[in-house]
Amino acid sequence: MESGIFRRNLVIGSVLALVFLIAAIVSFFWTPYDVTQLDIANKLKKPNAEYWFGTDHFGRDIFSMIMVGARTSIAVAIVAVGIGLLIGVPLGLTAAAWRHSLLDELIMRSNDLVFAFPALLIAIMITAVFGPGAVNAIIAIGIFNIPVFARLTRGAALSLWTRDYILAARTAGKKSFRISLEHILPNILNLLIVQGTIQFSLGILAEAGLSYVGLGAQPPVPSWGRMLAESQTMISFAPHLALFPGFAILLTVLGLNLFGDGLRDLFDPRLRRESR
């Protein structure tokens, strides 16, 4: 079967993810309708040739809102993963470089502390203190990402530190800092990319969840989660209000997960060998 299933994951996943990425990018220049323009007279229209996905309770075009909502989701997820990578990876590398030291303990136990709280709880805590908004949602999701990357980095780096070529580098007089940067980081990069993709999809899900409970992007910025929340009371007579943002979340998260799986299988030579 020659890793066919892996390829298929990769292809389907990347196509799905690309569709939403393109929608988000295009939304900067063009949407069928202006999403901040309300048109109460045209509210709750069923999907038709004029409004492809219909209109919501304010007469806004749902297709346009999904496009701009993709932008919101992706922006929040990218920055949140970025925060996780930029803070979590250095923390993990440091912990691995000075493994079993007090510093290592300090870093990893504080990570455990953050990890012990569910992401949503951290988000509610942050938004309760600083008020709801997209920026605070990003920070909340980003904080949750830090221990994920820190743990992954430390775990992977630890096994590398025992390798002969690291030993060689040390005998050559390289300091821990340079070894981490020049030998460890490049070798765990594929792991980080795979994890980043997964965290990216989780970030989109978390943003949708926060918006759903009213803690994410505030109106009038469209957001998939809030679209879902607002459609709740109308689901029995205008189901398209909930279906489209629901599918948007489902397909993006599914796509990113498939993409992440595909990448992992592609990067992991052991898995490939076994499947042969």
């Binding site: 323009q37 309300l38 109460i40 304010f58 007469g59 709740q232 009371t233």
Partner: protein
Amino acid sequence: MSLRKLIVPLLLAAASVTHAAKTDLVLGMQLEPPNLDPTGGAAAAIDEVVYANVFEGLTRFASDGSVQPALAKSWEISDDGLVYTFTLNAGVKFHDGSDFDAQDVKFSLDRARAETSTNAQKQLFAGIASVEVTDPQTVVITLSQPNGALLFNLAWGDAIMLSPDSFDKAKTEPVGTGPFVFSKWVQGDRIEITRNPDYWGEPAKLDKATFKFISEPTAAFAALMAGDVDAFPVFPAPENLPQFEADPGFQVVVGSTEGETILSTNNKQPPFDNKLVRQALAHAIDRKSIIDGAMFGYGTPIGTHFAPHNPAYVDLTANSMYDPEKAKALLKEAGFADGFSTTLKLPPPSYARRGGEIIAAQLREVGITTEISNLEWAQWLEQVFRGKDFGLTIVSHTEPMDIGIYAKPDYYFQYDNPELQSLIADLEGITDPDARTESLQKAQQIISDDYVNGYLFQLAKTGVANADIVGLWENSPTQANDLTAVYWK
């Protein structure tokens, strides 16, 4: 005994049970009251549970908003309008068995108007100079100046009668004189009241009533559909009403409330201290879009802070017609040709959240940028109502005849106009109905001309109930769910 012998009587018993009309009622409410003492809290939910059910005052509001005798059987007013002599109903007992008499009236009124009183509507009692007991059935209230609204004021939930023996328990275990006795409060879920067998007046028809608190509109819809809740006097999601209307199992009654829904404007915060800016706001708002978009058509446009069903109401909507071009011109005149930005803080009800999005879009059209923040009620009370930290907010003022709030310069929207303040102060002393109407209309005109707030619409009472329930209030002249006359067909 054969199985058949056992089943037949059971079936018969079951059949006879279903024929008898139900005598209990589950009523849905969106907000749970913080406590149950109407004399110690401003929350509408308190009165919505206990008013006319558990507690009564000397007078009371009937379902049409008129003031009727309650614990006071009758009264006489002296010719100078200063002395009111109330004759109390005989044989009235508190739920704990103690007698209700003139001493309790004196206690309750003195407590409400005392310096240290925490009554949320203390101004209702402001004109009372003394309360004297002449005999157990007679109370004399003397005023410092004539007050045409005294009987109306005494009908408020904030003026109910408490016993000196049990007033301190009113917050959690209220003891009143009403047709229902408080029985149980399961915090976060429900409050139960049962019929008072020793009631002095016409007894209640229901044996038991339960107030169930459901904050989520979706859950409220499901609870009604499933029959877990028999009635929702103020159903929170107007978009669902057509579905109930189409269902023969339900009755939908859309009535009026005392809720003036307004775009409250912080009159002390620049640029809203400039009347031109407030006028621009008023002309930038399209009420029809707001009523259609936020309330699905339920609501009556208003142009001032007064209920349209009140005989003294003046339709001033033309004063603030939707005219974005005029709004832009006014902003330019005020020195804001490029617009400005402000905050729009929204409490949870859908009129505010949805109305806020629509208003934000309308204001954007004339160049005003609003930063929306959605707040929970506790945050709203803290930041907006007490902290006065807001530019704009949307809220429905559900107290009856509350135009007097415009005479309080430290009220949260901070409108300070001595002309209106003296007008309202003089109103107290006017007993002639025509002169009262004239003053009230003048007050409406002043606040409309000053564009104090954006006047949006009168909130509709969107009641949904099982089709077999009779006797629920159609309108909401005060915050109440009077269950005295409610029964099942």
